[in-house]
Symmetry: C2
Subunit: 97 residues, 2 copies
């Protein structure tokens, strides 16, 4: 269920566009979306930057609501809330029609 309650559109835009501002986070989002779900390690190994750095990017994406995470054993499985993201992007695209 994307779009948490009590978050205004303005705050949502701020969070989402801040999250998208970093190329690594855009790539992570694409990667998770296309793979369906993804373990933190899979993501970390696929990227050039260190695992802790990736971990922080993941945390930010979860905070923003663009990723969800569930803990399975000692692994964290991430999945993309793609609908939220595409809704926000299309809504903003619509402002400029």
């Amino acid at each position: 269920m994307p779009k948490p309650e009590g978050i205004s559109d303005v705050e949502m835009a701020d969070d989402v566009f801040s999250a998208l501002a970093h190329p690594a986070r855009r790539q992570i989002l694409l990667s998770v979306h296309y793979r369906g779900t993804c373990k933190a390690g899979d993501i970390a190994h696929r990227f050039e930057c260190s695992w802790p750095t990736t971990s922080r990017h993941l945390a930010k994406l979860v905070e923003t609501g663009l990723l969800s995470v569930s803990k399975i054993g000692r692994e964290r499985v991430y999945s993309a809330n793609s609908e939220l993201l595409s809704d926000v992007l299309r809504k903003w695209a619509g402002y400029f029609d």
Copy 2:
């Protein structure tokens, strides 16, 4: 003519999403788009932050290609390249369908 030659999609995304990351710049873009064109002074007076700060935001938006500017006398008239922006946003929205 939005989308300058020789700029890859990746660079374009970087520029556009960086530009959109700041709330003042999103507001400026909306404001100019809805008004059609806008003088720098009109924009500066409408916002809370100082004119030089707004000026710097405008410069960044021009650099990114999201705004165009033409000099008329001592005034600068800005207009929005809205199609470029909505194209990029919709393209990215499409990646997450």
